[in-house]
């Protein structure tokens, strides 16, 4: 029993015993050496003894000087490395609230989000209000959303409104090539934040691209990289918890483009980032405000209708809109214009979306063919599309590869579409083919991309969404997949019978044929309008929203509503 006890004790405490034994041996050895040293010293002849003693103050003085030098170097280096402008500070910017200076009213294009964020601002400004009811202070705010929607801008506005210093750091710059540097940087960042909070009664830490340091932790494969990333996440979690335990009014705002599921679950749990705000792309009204805001900063034609611009800029982020206005002002300067007009904005949009103009010498015949091709698209879109407006038609070749284009967009963001919408899309795509056929009694290879689009919509209508004319229903495309069974490079087995496939293909063709028939009928009927639109395009090369509206109005046509 006694032996067993000893064995278990040794098993449990062998490291401790080993260390204590080693320390004891070292201690004994040191004592023996010291005694021998003292004895040798005492046995020295007086001259050498005196020599030793007299050198002690000098040795001491030199040691002190050396210690001071090394301590200074060490301190300076450590400060630089961990707290000063060293590697831990790379990418970290400290900004005082008055330097951030982004007023709440200047944050536009996210009214809904602002309302939610305002609540946070109020809670940060008046913490006593929350404490009175026993609530915990918000310590973390996570801003989700696609790039350019103004996450950083909102964070800065919060800092300005709360009037506390703003420490900004980009997540991707936290991680470095040195293992553990990420964690050290986070530690340093929060240490400084706490100090700032003590000085200025609060501090906002803004971590942009937080996903870089907040990806889910995984097992390291042996190269150390994941270990370093894990350490950074752990440190971030520790710091977030630390904030909660100590009353210091440090608020962490994280911004990311990735979805919540791509971030470490521990970071997402309640108590870390208390609030999560999704900042989406701006709505029509927001875009109007954004255009209004950015145009006010430059000289612009007062006749510009911002609602038209907002409709045209569907799915554009605030950063995109700012870029459009900036690009338009550059184009206006180049064109020696005093103010930015609709033409410059339109050109700026085209340049951003479609690339630069491509200097190709087209023959008059080619120009005419392209003009009728685009006119076909434009007329069908204008007269038959239930949701889209035609914003622009052009026969100027672009670097992206187009010889011409018609820019049509839905009047508002739509997240779900009906059968009529897709049929209209197919008809708009086939408008070019029908126009070429009606005018020249022949067609060109320019319809290649248009047919691609038409087929894509028709295929999906039939194969996926049960919108085929034969009445066959189901998502047959899904049956073409392997249902998660690995194919190991072999072709995916199809679960759709040949008969069904034939039927589905017939439906696709039926849709295309029916749409083409309707388009041909429409364009034949509207051939004067087709000629007029094409001749205007040949003449002006580009037609903007107002010019297009004017042509249709002249011909007594109105948009399908």
């Amino acid at each position: 029993m006694g032996n067993k006890k000893i064995r278990i004790y040794l098993k449990l405490h062998w490291v401790k015993i080993l260390i204590i034994s080693l320390l004891a041996i070292i201690g004994l050895f040191t004592t023996i050496v010291m005694i021998a040293g003292v004895q040798a010293m005492l046995n020295l002849e007086s001259f050498y003894k005196q020599l030793q003693f007299s050198s002690v103050p000098l040795q001491f003085f030199l040691s002190v000087i050396t210690a001071i030098i090394f301590a200074s170097i060490y301190t300076v280096f450590n400060y630089w490395f961990f707290f000063g402008g060293g590697m831990t500070k790379l990418g970290q910017k400290r900004i005082k609230s008055q330097e951030v200076n982004i007023k709440w009213d200047e944050v536009i294009g996210m009214e809904e989000v602002k309302r939610e964020a305002w609540e946070v601002v109020q809670l940060l400004k008046d913490r006593s209000q929350l404490q009175r009811v026993g609530g915990q202070i918000i310590k973390g705010l996570l801003l989700f959303g696609p790039p350019g929607v103004g996450k950083t801008y909102l964070a800065k506005a919060i800092a300005t409104e709360v009037k506390v210093p703003f420490l900004s750091v980009v997540g991707s710059e936290i991680e470095g090539m040195i293992v553990g540097l990420g964690a050290a940087k986070i530690r340093s960042l929060f240490k400084e934040a706490r100090a700032m909070a003590e000085l200025h009664s609060g501090c906002i830490v803004f971590i942009d691209e937080i996903d870089s340091v907040a990806r889910p932790r995984r097992e390291d494969m042996g190269f150390g990289g994941q270990m370093s990333a894990n350490a950074a996440v752990n440190q971030l979690l520790t710091e977030l918890d630390g904030l909660r335990k100590i009353e210091n009014n440090v608020v962490v705002i994280g911004a990311t483009n990735v979805e919540e599921r791509d971030l470490d679950p521990a970071l997402m749990r309640a108590g870390r980032f208390d609030r999560k705000i999704y900042i989406g792309l701006p709505s029509l009204k927001d875009r109007e405000n954004l255009f209004g805001f950015y145009l006010k900063r430059i000289k612009f034609d007062p006749n510009i209708d911002v609602s038209v611009l907002a409709r045209k800029a569907v799915f554009k982020s605030p950063a995109d809109i700012a870029n459009i206005v900036r690009e338009a002002s550059i184009i206006a300067v180049r064109n020696k214009k005093d103010a930015v007009g609709l033409k410059e904005i339109s050109e700026a949009m085209d340049r951003i979306d479609l690339g630069l103009r491509r200097p190709i010498d087209l023959s008059p015949k080619e120009k005419e063919q392209i003009a009728y091709h685009e006119a076909g698209h434009a007329i069908v879109a204008y007269l038959l599309h239930p949701t889209d407006d035609v914003f622009k038609a052009s026969i100027i070749p672009r670097t992206i590869g187009f010889l011409g284009f018609v820019y049509h967009r839905s009047r508002e963001e739509m997240h779900i579409h009906n059968r009529e919408y897709y049929l209209a899309n197919i008809k708009v795509a086939l408008g070019s083919y029908a126009a070429e056929k009606i005018k020249f009694n022949t067609t060109t290879s320019g319809v290649d991309e248009d047919f691609n689009h038409a087929m894509y919509w028709a295929y999906n209508m039939v194969w996926r969404w049960g919108m085929g004319p034969s009445g066959i229903k189901g998502n047959f495309k899904e049956l073409e997949r392997s249902f998660g069974v690995p194919t190991w490079g072999w072709s995916t087995p199809s679960y759709v019978s040949e008969k069904t496939k034939e039927k589905l293909d017939d439906d696709v063709q039926a849709i295309i044929q029916q749409c083409l028939k309707e388009v041909e009928e429409l364009l034949t009927k509207e051939s004067p309008l087709l000629d007029r639109f094409a001749s205007e395009l040949i003449q002006k090369q580009e037609l903007d929203y107002d010019e297009i509206e004017a042509i249709f109005k002249e011909c007594g046509k109105s948009r399908l509503r």
């Binding site: 002849e45 007086s46 001259f47 020599l51 003693f53 002690v56 103050p57």
Partner: protein, 273 residues
Amino acid sequence: MRKVQITVIVISIITTLLSGCLFIKPTYTKEKIVEAITNLCEAEYKIEPRVWLLGETVWVYMPLPKLITKDAQFDKDVFEKINKVMIGASRVLLSMKPRPQFMALVASDTEEYGIDYTVITWIPDIVKYQLQLISRDEFFRRNVIRIGESPAALGDREGIHLKKEDIKLSEFLGEQIKQRIQLKFNLDPNLKEAFKLESTKAAFDGNILKIICDIKLVKVSPKTPMNTQDEIAKITAYTLQQYDFKDFLMVEIENTATGEKTDLSRIALKDFL
């Protein structure tokens, strides 16, 4: 607790700084210098020298059966023995207060040729050398070495033939200057090529240091220093300054080969430093 810590630290620092001022009792005394050197050499080097203290000079005698080889070179083992005795005697002299001024070590060939090899050292020079205030070369240049035939040394194991005396600093310096002049004119490549030093004498005569040389010009080259008097004056000025010796009025430098004679007062000698 904090106060105690600070007090301990302050006391430790003061003790450390004052440790250099500690009075350490000398290991050896002047009264027992003979026994001390003899015993140390015997105990540590198994050599038994004869030792005398005459005034401020310690005489150490080493009778050796063979001092030089047939090629008139010092025997390596013998040289090592001399060195050991010198170190032993130096150790005793260094750890003694008050110290004598000079140590004269005489090693004699008592069996083959009857030669005396004498090394005279000013004890403060040993201290300076130990404290690395002077280089090894300079230390050896400061030692006065006399080598001479001494038939009386044959069979003398007790040092009876030695003319032991209390060496004076002036006498020592005169000999050192003579030795330095010889070394300079025999070892400096430029001087060696241009001049031939036949003989040198340097000794104090009352308050005057008289240096009489026989230096002939044998070859003139662009590098030849033309004034041998100046060279000798430089050596003299340097040596006397090193020992801070001021007990003289004048230095007379005479070259019997050329008839040149230079008289330099103590103040004029400083110009050669």
